[in-house]
């Protein structure tokens, strides 16, 4: 799922310095799971903002809402009545959610309350790690389910590089070498022969973000 981290309070206070009445909107999906922008975090941030502004002598009224998925226009529409009552919106959803609200409410400023960080997995409670870069052409079938695009610092398709040492990466020594993980996994599956298959260079300019905005169209689903 999408992972995010709350922005520093000082930065958020700066965005909101000229507003007295805002809506703080969370999201019930990904950012709830990584505890950056769910209902609980909305309550906590709203409380912190109210107290900080009270202490500064400029009280802030912060309304709270947490739609099920902020990135869906239908759920954004549910906020319409509330948004009419406020001067600005602070969204603690991912960057997609922020943009959905911005598109939906053209006359209301929408500010981001979190930094959207990566697509990741929960390693353990309170720890999340990057697993996918949405590169547009998945090769996990060839690498035993371990992604070298997201997990190898050099994004090597035919690793490991010469810097892998004792299973660790030379760029980030606390991180596991992705190609060591791929080797171990293929070894466990009895598929080590896959290490000898050359993975051809990708057409990054066609398949990935390099060619600009990506879009998926399903004609059968359109209404």
């Amino acid at each position: 799922m999408i992972k995010a981290e709350q922005k520093p309070l000082e930065e958020i206070l700066l965005y909101l310095k000229s507003y007295d009445r805002i809506l703080l909107s969370g999201c019930g999906a990904c950012v709830t799971v990584c505890q950056a922008g769910g209902e609980k975090e909305v309550g906590l941030l709203a409380s912190a903002l109210r107290m900080a502004r009270m202490k500064m002598g400029t009280p802030l009224e912060a309304l709270e809402a947490t739609p099920a998925r902020q990135c869906e226009p239908e759920f954004a529409a549910e906020l319409s009545e509330t948004v009419e009552k406020v001067e600005a919106v602070l969204s603690v959803a991912c960057g997609v959610g922020v943009q959905t609200l911005a598109r939906h409410f053209p006359k209301t400023p929408v500010f981001p309350g979190v930094n959207t960080t990566f697509l990741g997995e929960t390693v353990t409670h309170g720890v999340w790690e990057e697993r996918c870069q949405a590169c547009g052409n998945c090769i996990l079938e060839r690498t035993g389910g371990v992604c070298p695009v997201a997990r190898c610092a050099k994004q090597l398709f035919n690793g490991p590089c010469g810097g892998s040492s004792k299973g660790k990466c030379e760029i980030k020594r606390e991180a596991d070498c992705a190609w060591q993980l791929i080797y171990d996994r293929l070894n466990g599956l009895g598929q080590l022969y896959r290490m000898e298959e050359i993975i051809p260079a990708r057409r990054w300019g066609v398949e990935s973000r390099d060619s600009g905005l990506r879009r998926i169209v399903r004609e059968d689903l359109k209404v």
Partner: protein, 136 residues
């Protein structure tokens, strides 16, 4: 501030803090004038939000009365409360409030006098800090 009687919200674990408060009451120990006890089934039930909300809604200080470490009936409830407290302290610093306004005290059921002493000490400390400037 001569007549300032700080408002303290005291979250009490049902396995230690609450029976200790009960014992202190039975011993007719004196409490500061403005304390509100909140009974919780375990200190692990106390969310960071509760600590902040207490301050936002009018408390000058917050105390958590939890079991001694390694003595939690639910194994890690008191440790969870401790880590949430340190998160709340970080938030207080960013808000611009003194982190001393929220504190944890570990005790057991037979610690009525310790509970009363802690409340008095906290009350004196809050009198020196003054009223919570961020309460709404």
């Amino acid at each position: 501030m001569v007549n300032f009687e700080p408002k303290i919200v005291a979250f009490c674990c049902d396995q230690s803090g609450y029976p200790a408060a009960d014992m202190a009451g039975g011993l007719e120990l004196n409490f500061p004038g403005n304390v509100e006890f909140v009974r919780v089934p375990c200190a692990g039930r106390i969310e960071t939000l509760y600590l902040l909300k207490a301050l936002e809604r009018g408390a000058d200080g917050v105390l958590i009365f939890a079991c001694y470490e390694e003595n939690c009936q639910f194994l890690r409830g008191n440790l969870r409360a401790k880590s949430r407290l340190s998160y709340a302290h970080r938030l207080l610093e960013k808000i611009g409030l003194e982190k001393e306004r929220i504190e944890i005290c570990h005790l057991a059921t037979n610690c009525g006098p310790k509970l009363a002493e802690t409340l008095h000490r906290k009350s004196e400390q809050l009198k020196k800090l003054g009223p919570n400037p961020a309460k709404i």
